[in-house]
Amino acid sequence: MSIPVHEALPARRHRGLVGLYGLWQFRDYLMERGAATLIVLGLFSYLSVGEKLSELHYRAEHATAAQIAQAGGAEAWHTAQLQALTSNFLASFLGVVVFVGAVFATQGIVANDRKTGFYRFLFAKPVSPTRYYGQAFVIHWAAFTALVSAMALVYGALVQPILSVPLLMAVAVMFLMYAGIEFLASSMARWDWLSMVAVAVTATYLWGRFGTSPSPVARLVYLLPPLHRTAEVYSAVAQGDALPWHLLAWFGGYGLVCVVAALFVLRYRRLAII
């Protein structure tokens, strides 16, 4: 057997430039997930706030002199009304923002590549799935937080400023919890967003039902995040109160454990298995 002699192959130069590939992952988030998130949340907020703003204008036109005087003048009356509107909006809407954002950002993040076979070309390259998907998760997290900041700025320009560090902290931590659960589900099975919804519903129900039970079996609820208390976080942001840090640590820690577990699964579970 003779083999034609060609030029010697160069020594292996680089591993995959996964860090640079992050720009593509960011672009993918914006095009495929961020746009959808923005449209859904934009419509939802318009429907929630638009009508109430019209109502506010109507009330402003029909407010009595006594009401205005009691509030300390027309400006103060208007500010107080906007404050109340924004508080109600944040308390009711922030949970939806984070939940929908997490579902959109992490839906199929791993499972889609497995299901469609896209992983085959990606991971024939010198790239570790753990690094690739871990980076994708972090980029989606950061991009979602940036998206919420942009939406908050728009809200600020149209209604009243709401962008604050506590708001972003709450959004980032709550996103980490929901998206972490979904990321773990996506690394293991196809039905990731359904799994996340199932965990959310189950956790809310079981914590509400058995959270205060003295039974040792009831302690199993500690395996689930205390989702019956998410309103405490959103209310604190809405009212401008101090954030419940112990609760945020619990939610964030739960999400972080899920992310680490997902990376562990990605390290050891074969990619062709779905």
């Binding site: 057997m1 003779s2 083999i3 034609p4 002699v5 060609h6 030029e7 010697a8 192959l9 160069p10 292996r12 130069r13 680089h14 591993r15 995959g16 430039l17 996964v18 640079l20 590939y21 593509w24 469609t116 076979g117 896209f118 992983y119 085959r120 070309f121 990606l122 991971f123 024939a124 390259k125 010198p126 790239v127 570790s128 074969r270 990619l271 062709a272 298995i273």
Partner: protein, 308 residues
């Protein structure tokens, strides 16, 4: 370079029914050779490739690339890989897809556009650069798959059905590309149903059937072998009637073509000489099956018997 040692791969379904995709498979692929993998559908070729890329784990036995577990080797070095189904997100543009894969393959940023342009030109994709993947025809998609496998100078190249969907012109060009890829330190593994293709490009071909390695054919050594008793095709232009007299067992196929069975090469030569003496104008004489095809038929027949 690549070794499979006593590898078993069994799948277990929900109903606990076990499918044995590979059984006790041992194989060594040497550095510098082009190695073919042939077998009927379900023989275990795709499973073998998934094991080689670390996308699946073996139930028993070991798979090594350059002495390393496949994922360890690939995450450090990468392999040029074309899968049987070219799975690239349909919304990606051709040039973007190649740029993305080049980054992941470790092509330095400074060389990125040059390297992408080079494979685009090599695979004739210039006019499709701005198209989305979903707009490509089957053949162009296959060429894109091949292009992304050639982005880097990998030491291991794995091509699964590389000429699937290619027209004859590009099938020929593919052979030239493989010839161009041959290098003393490079190992190329090609899985294909197309035995003619493998006979032309491979040095050795492993024949799989029912998840077992049936035999390894040294194609270079057997390329010109004559298999005793193998059928031959005789084509004559004049004197068609004399063929039956000379070869009573010949089967007439029409248009001056006859198939000769069970004849030794000596008797065929002698018979053809007599035909020529009688004024028969012999147009062509060739074996119906290549040596590899003949070996494949025997091996797959044996596999069917073993599997039964």
């Amino acid at each position: 370079m690549i070794s499979f040692s006593h590898v078993d791969k069994h799948y277990r379904g929900w109903a606990q029914s076990e499918v044995r995709a590979l059984t006790d498979l041992s194989l060594e692929v040497r550095t510098g050779e082009v190695f073919g993998l042939a077998g009927p559908n379900g023989a275990g070729k795709s499973t073998l490739i998934s094991l080689l890329l670390g996308f699946l784990g073996a139930t028993r036995g070991t798979v090594l690339i350059d002495g390393l577990e496949p994922r360890v080797y690939i995450e450090a070095n990468g392999v040029g890989y074309l899968s049987e189904l070219v799975n690239i997100p349909p919304a990606w543009r051709v040039c973007d897809a190649l740029e993305r894969y080049a980054l992941l393959a470790g092509v330095p940023q400074a060389d990125l556009s040059g390297r992408v342009s080079s494979v685009v030109e090599q695979l004739g994709l210039e006019e499709h650069r701005r198209k989305r993947v979903r707009q490509l025809s089957k053949g162009n998609l296959q060429r894109l798959g091949l292009a992304q496998a050639l982005l880097c100078e990998e030491r291991v190249i794995v091509l699964d059905e590389p000429t699937h969907g290619l027209d004859p012109l590009w099938t020929q060009r593919f052979r030239d590309i493989v010839d161009g890829l041959r290098a003393p330190k490079r190992t190329i593994l090609i899985a294909s149903h197309n035995l003619d293709e493998l006979a032309r490009v491979a040095d050795r071909v492993a024949i799989l059937d029912h998840g077992r390695l049936q035999r390894i054919v040294d194609v270079r050594a057997t390329r010109n072998d004559v298999v005793r008793g193998a059928p031959y095709r005789l084509v004559v232009q004049l004197g068609d009637d004399h063929v039956k007299e000379q070869f009573p067992g010949a089967r007439a196929l029409g248009g001056g073509e006859h198939e000769l069975h069970g004849e030794s090469l000596e008797s065929i030569n002698a018979g053809v000489a007599r035909l020529i003496e009688r004024g028969v104008l012999v147009k062509a004489l060739f074996p119906v099956h290549s040596a590899l095809e003949q070996q494949f038929r025997e091996a797959v027949g044996a596999g069917a018997e073993n599997g039964a």
